[in-house]
Each structure stands twice: as structure tokens, then as C-alpha cells.
């Protein structure tokens, strides 16, 4: 063991670092309380759609709004999500029987167009639930819809 490893100085810096972490680096109680609600959205028969592709921020269209794209997949189903600030656009192929947006606050049904698409106002951590008659629901991994800076 080096002299430093047993020194007063080392004990002092550990004490100061611990005190700093205890005050400045604590997870908020709001985040913990919201996380607890995840259990309410659990359905044991759900099938999980994994994230299979992701694109970082890119500038698309004339409005130069940064967009991020995610693609989720499970056998026979593709879910393409395009994220903008406070909003997500989704296309599900083939078009499902129903779609919900789920967050810690609950479940919000979404009206889909003829080709399985919709644009939805959302914020924070959400996931999508795809309903298919006669089959288990498919849920995506959760993802973050960004807010304004």
C-alpha cells in the first residue's frame, strides 16, 4: 500500500466527495415516484418489440426541425417512430387494430389513419402499445420524446 492510500489527505477527499455526492448528485424524488408507476402498465402477456434501428438528430424538411428516428420490430410487425420536440409521428406496418401511447401518467388511445400512421403530442418517457385482434399486444421499448430546450 502506498503512503497516499493510507493518508489523512485521502480520508479527507473521500469525506468531501461523499458529502458532495449526497447533496449535488441525488436522483429527484419526482423521478423515483414516476418510475414506480411503470408497474401499473405491466401486462404479462405482452410481446416486446425491440429497438432495431436508431438515427440521431438530423435536419429534415424545410423547417430544419431536428428529428430523430427509431425503428422497432417484432416478427411480422414494423413500428417506425419519428421524434420532434413535444411530438412523435408513428407508422405501424401492417396497420394494427389499435395503438396506445403509454407513459407513467397512463394510457392514451391514438386514432390511426388508413395506412397505420398518426402524429401525437407527447413529452418525456413513453412507449407504444400496438393492439392486434387475436394476438398479444406488442409494446415497444420506452423512449424519450424531447421537450423544448
Amino acid at each position: 500500500m502506498s503512503d497516499y492510500e493510507d493518508s489523512e489527505d485521502l480520508h479527507d477527499v473521500i469525506r468531501r466527495l461523499s458529502a458532495w455526492a449526497a447533496v449535488e448528485e441525488q436522483v429527484s424524488s419526482e423521478a423515483v415516484e414516476t418510475a414506480k408507476m411503470a408497474f401499473d402498465l405491466r401486462q404479462v402477456e405482452d410481446e416486446l418489440a425491440e429497438l432495431v434501428h436508431t438515427d440521431g438528430l438530423a435536419v429534415r424538411g424545410d423547417d430544419a426541425e431536428p428529428t430523430s428516428e427509431l425503428r422497432f420490430g417484432v416478427q411480422g410487425l414494423d413500428i417506425l417512430v419519428s421524434l420532434r420536440r413535444g411530438q412523435l409521428a408513428v407508422v405501424v406496418a401492417p396497420p394494427p387494430d389499435g395503438l396506445d401511447v403509454e407513459s407513467a401518467g397512463g394510457r392514451q388511445p391514438v386514432e390511426l389513419d388508413d395506412v397505420g400512421g398518426a402524429t401525437i403530442a407527447a413529452l418525456g418517457v413513453v412507449r407504444l402499445r400496438v393492439r392486434r385482434n387475436g394476438n398479444p399486444d406488442v409494446v415497444t421499448d420506452p423512449f424519450v420524446v424531447p421537450g423544448t430546450d
Partner: protein, 181 residues
């Protein structure tokens, strides 16, 4: 009166949550959210992103409870899932977090707390100046409160090298703090 409240271990809580016990899931969230948050911070997430990651990880666990094969090792699952999730979020959002933004300066407070605030601001500044490896290690140790064994698994480092590395990192931090004293 004797305290008869039973403290359930992690494995028991995971098995109970699998069986539908919401209270067990709540207890896991309360017990390990700081650990999840600290791991997200250690890989470079800013505070806002780290709190998003906390939610994502618990969502994932709620959905995957039936697939957890080693309930007694749930902290290892949480560490890996958190670090992967945080890295995905960092890459996807390209919320390029300058090193200076990862650790916010301590906020000013009432006069009675000023010396503590000054000390914490100094510590925040010195943490930013550490190497990435040291910053990650110290955040894992002191914010996520991980054991040396857990750090060894998460970083795929030999157990025996973590103690000495931590010693060197603490010395770097101490040197920075003494310069600014």
C-alpha cells in the same frame, strides 16, 4: 417493542414483483434508483437525461420481469441496462454533452450554507477536470454507490486494479482541490 419489519433481499423482491406484488416493485425502485441514476451519470448523461434513463430502465424491468433469470443479481442487470440505455440515448439524441455540462456547478444558497456551496462548487469544478476514466469511476463509487465487485463487472476491469485506480483518481482530485484552496 421489537421491530419485526422484514427486510426482503433483492431476489425475493424480484420474485414477488414477477408474481404481481406491486409493493415489491416499489421497494426495488426506492432501493436502487440512485444506483441507476449514478450509472447513467457515470457514462456521461446530464442530470435531465439521467432521470429519463431512470424511468426507461424501470419501465424495461416492469416489462421484462418474467425474463429475469437471476433475480438475486438484479443490480448487475440494472447496471448493464442503465449503461446501455444511457449510451443509446446519448448517441440517439446527439445531445452533445460537453464535459463541462455533465456535472453542473453547485447552485448558490443562503449565506449560512455558503461555505458548503463554495466547497461543492470547487468539487464540481475539479470533477470536470478529471480524466474520463477517473470521473466515471468516482461517480460509480460515490454517486451510484457501487461496490468494487460491481464496478469490476460493469467495466470489465480486473477487481485488483480498481482499488489502485481509485486511489490515483482520488489523488488527482485532491491535488486539484488543494490548488484551489
Amino acid at each position: 417493542m421489537a421491530n419485526t419489519a422484514e427486510v426482503r433481499d433483492d431476489g425475493t423482491l424480484v420474485r414477488a414483483a414477477k408474481a404481481g406484488d406491486k409493493g415489491a416493485f416499489t421497494e426495488l425502485v426506492e432501493r436502487h434508483s440512485q444506483f441507476v441514476f449514478g450509472n447513467a451519470r457515470a457514462v456521461g448523461a446530464d442530470r435531465t437525461m439521467a432521470e429519463d434513463v431512470v424511468q426507461i430502465v424501470w419501465f424495461k424491468l416492469a416489462s421484462r420481469l418474467d425474463a429475469i433469470r437471476e433475480p438475486d443479481r438484479i443490480r448487475a442487470w440494472l447496471a448493464i441496462t442503465t449503461r446501455n440505455t444511457a449510451r443509446t440515448e446519448l448517441g440517439r439524441t446527439a445531445r452533445t454533452v460537453a464535459i463541462d455540462d455533465r456535472i453542473p456547478d453547485a447552485a448558490p444558497g443562503p449565506e449560512s450554507l455558503m461555505s458548503t456551496r463554495i466547497e461543492h462548487a470547487e468539487l464540481s469544478r475539479c470533477m470536470k477536470r478529471l480524466t474520463d476514466q477517473c470521473r466515471e469511476l468516482l461517480l460509480m463509487r460515490f454517486v451510484a454507490e457501487m461496490s468494487l465487485q460491481e464496478i469490476s463487472e460493469a467495466r470489465e476491469m480486473p477487481m485488483g486494479s480498481i482499488g489502485p485506480t481509485q486511489g490515483r483518481c482520488l489523488k488527482q482530485l485532491s491535488t486539484c482541490l488543494s490548488r484551489s484552496a
